[in-house]
Symmetry: C2
């Protein structure tokens, strides 16, 4: 989830001013409506130390009528709280109807701080995730609106901020030894945060990851999500149950996640180096394939990418020297009748490889959040639900010990055009390009948005997306081969 | 769940014939409708060896058109299956639209057999429950209708059946050494079954426990639930999500669970013995109360029961010799404004005792599935959902180490009438009896049904209901005191 987030996003002062004024007004009047309709709202702020939670919360509250909200700071538990089940102190602070409760850190400390400190083991976390999901589902079923933010900054940025605070006498006291200890544990926390978000990003209480390097950007993003959530909360009718109530906001471009924008498409590789490496890696892969079989390792490799980005060519180079008994390439197109007649994940489960074998998916279960989303083949509730369904499925693959690799082959629209035209000009390749390809091309923006969302929401620690800079075919092929060999070597 | 089930339930041949003919016809025509509307259905049969799964499944299939269903027997996994995630072999067998897949044993073997055999630890089960719930939720969200049966017989009944099979040469081969090994592990399985049902009894895929001592009874119960589920499956519109789709059947009296019917209300205690035991137990309780404080044990005791069953009197005797600083009695009436303005469980969470203290609830969170259900104060989706919400909450109490005791004080309607009349005749007690009490009395049947459902659905291994035969006040008081002291002694 965090890995793909572009932390360099900023807003200019002008953009900020323009956006924030309107948002403040909107939030103010929505809060009044929330009060009138008696909707209880819970806003959770989690995030790195020094990510700016305090400032952001204050900023948010300024937009609101103080009689309508309360802020709850979650400090290390007091005796009072230690002597009760861990959710007790949050239960007692759930807001009444029409009120907004803001939690500055929350019940998630149990699977973040407590896990990193060893008070809760990784295995025990499964039970706690269950408790937390039950808690949030019960509240949502009871009419509560739940908004959860994780404020994300890099380790370097955190260090910079601590240093800056320490420099001034007025603020030096704010950086404690514990803060520095946490800073050194950044990577452990990172892993805990990733696991937590994967397990608790539900339809009824979704997470929003906020790029918090730039405070203006963070503020506008938080304000936008809050405003949208309040708006939806008001229009929600009472009888709706948790899973039915589809939340989630389509953010304006200005503040949406844009993983693809920061991909460096200038990467390339000379023909000579390519030939050499191709040979070397292909031989390696063949050796590893044998070990995969001996050690009974299940391997799943997924290829997604723009039309003409080179999925076919990449797969061909990957398997060229492999023993065909050890792998299977599974081309995924529009579902057939037998597939349409079952759950959409069925056809992928069926193709799960026997341990010791490698399944290579040419397109995959990600169709639901890409083509089906953009073309309107799946309704919004369906594709929104799919992120969690996909993560759950992949989690089960991972738990079984699967090596799961997911490649997104990225090319620019210009390069795509060149390849389309080249294909049309070449009689041997003309069949490869269809009317549909041209139509898809026109929807590049909508697809980019879907790809960005997918990369953020389904990149998990054990099943990360690997973005392949595919503008240079040679570079892309070697990157894929290298990634596969390294991932297998790590596990064999 | 299992503990409260009355396994002696039977149907006469006549009752059976009358019921089953109609049900067969209904199922036959519903199956056709299911096919027409393209509803996919999954029926799971779990249960003890020799509980009659095979016979019942055959019986059910006879009512159906063989082109519309398939049966999947879940044997110990083959190589093919061991080499894939454990849900794989069930995923590949999900039925297509309009078809019914019957699973003779299922994915639950993972948390039953595998747990008892030690292949999966108790802690790991949390993760597996999560996987199973995700699997069933995904299917339900995808339009699948899921029906789950657990066929229940006692350990003694199982032994009898094994013996009977062994006696005849024609059937002796059916009882294996492994069956006898499982038989000896009955109690371990029992615990695994209880835990499993608590964790996986969801709104979208609820369990039905079938009293399977009498085959006629079991058949009619299974047929009724299947028919109702198919009927609901047909009328379900496509867009509904899992949690919204409230399943659950109100069974006809003939085959509903009737825990209360088997309560022996003739139990009594002589005054002399009472005085002696009262004194003895009250002194014990006082000592234990001190230890509770020293050991920081959290204790929650819940009293529910018929009007005039003696809740007040029992609580008074329980606390009579206790140190008032160590306990709190919490009378629960209609919720006040502050409580109505929050989630219905909020007011109970707030009163959770500090570890080392004893909270005694005079009525409790069970109001939702009793008075609120019967009086129509909570809609059907609300009270149906509540069983799981309550189990989840109590599970969290238990995990925190709480001693949780729940008493149901039971009296006959005749005894209740006598007590009401005595109260009215006594000017000092007249205030205790209201119009409402008389009204409630007239709804005895509806309340009995609600109580029976509650006792079955919320009696869990760590939070069992204790039914107190309260026709004799003296007997009841000693039973309560004895139960409390024993439960505390066990933990101190």
């Amino acid at each position: 989830m965090l890995e793909k987030i572009d932390l360099d996003k900023t807003l200019s002062k002008d953009e900020y001013r323009k956006a924030v004024g309107t948002l403040e007004e909107r939030i103010g009047s929505l809060q009044r409506a929330v009060k009138e309709r008696g909707v209880p709202v819970i806003v959770v702020f989690e995030g790195w130390d020094a990510a700016g939670k305090g400032t952001l919360i204050n900023r948010l509250l300024l937009a609101m009528d103080p009689r309508g909200f309360s802020v709850h700071q979650t400090l290390p538990p007091k005796e009072e709280e230690l002597y009760r089940p861990f959710l007790w102190r949050f239960w007692i602070n759930v807001p009444e109807k029409g009120h907004i409760a803001v939690f500055d850190r929350s019940w998630y400390e149990r699977v973040l701080v407590d896990r990193v400190d060893g008070a809760v083991t990784k295995k025990e976390c499964d039970g706690v995730y269950g408790d937390i999901n039950a808690f949030e589902r019960q509240l949502s079923d009871g009419g509560y609106r739940i908004i959860k933010f994780f404020l994300h900054i890099s380790k370097g940025e955190q260090k910079k901020r601590f240093r800056k605070l320490e420099k001034s006498k007025a603020t030096a006291w704010r950086v404690t030894d514990e803060d520095w200890r946490h800073h050194r544990q950044y990577d452990d926390y990172y892993r805990a945060v990733e696991d937590t978000i994967v397990h608790t990003d539900t339809v009824w209480a979704p997470w929003t990851i906020v790029e918090a390097t730039d405070r203006r950007f963070a503020t506008v993003k938080v304000f936008t999500v809050v405003a949208d959530a309040l708006e939806k909360g008001i229009s929600r009718h009472g009888g709706e149950s948790a899973a039915e109530y589809v939340t989630g906001t389509v953010l304006p471009d200005q503040i949406s996640s844009t993983v693809l924008d920061s991909v460096d498409l200038s990467k390339s590789l000379a023909r000579e180096a390519y030939e050499e490496e191709l040979d070397r890696y292909q031989k390696k892969v063949r050796k590893l394939e044998h070990l995969v079989y001996v050690k009974r390792l299940p391997v799943v490799i997924v290829f997604q990418g723009w039309d003409a980005a080179g999925k076919g060519g990449n797969i061909r180079r990957l398997v060229q020297k492999m023993d065909p008994r050890g792998y299977e390439v599974i081309p995924v197109g529009a579902p057939n009748d037998a597939e349409l007649n079952r759950h959409y994940l069925w056809r992928f489960w069926v193709r799960f490889p026997k341990a010791g074998h490698i399944a290579i998916f040419d397109r995959s279960w990600y169709g639901r959040v890409l083509v089906e989303r953009v073309e309107g083949l799946a309704s919004e509730p369906l594709w929104r639900r799919a992120y969690r369904e996909i993560n759950e499925m992949e989690l089960q693959f991972i738990r079984f010990g699967t090596v799961l690799l997911k490649f997104w082959l990225h090319i620019s629209p210009e390069e795509q055009l060149r390849r389309f035209e080249a294909r049309e000009a070449d009689p041997r390749k003309r069949w490869k390009i269809t009317e549909e390809d041209w139509r898809n091309r026109e929807k590049r923006d909508a697809y980019e948005r879907a790809v960005n969302d997918m990369l953020v929401k389904t990149s998990t620690p054990d099943a990360p997306w690997v973005i392949v800079e595919a503008e240079s075919k040679l570079y892309a092929r070697i990157k894929v081969l290298k990634t596969v060999t390294e991932a297998l070597e790590k596990r064999l």
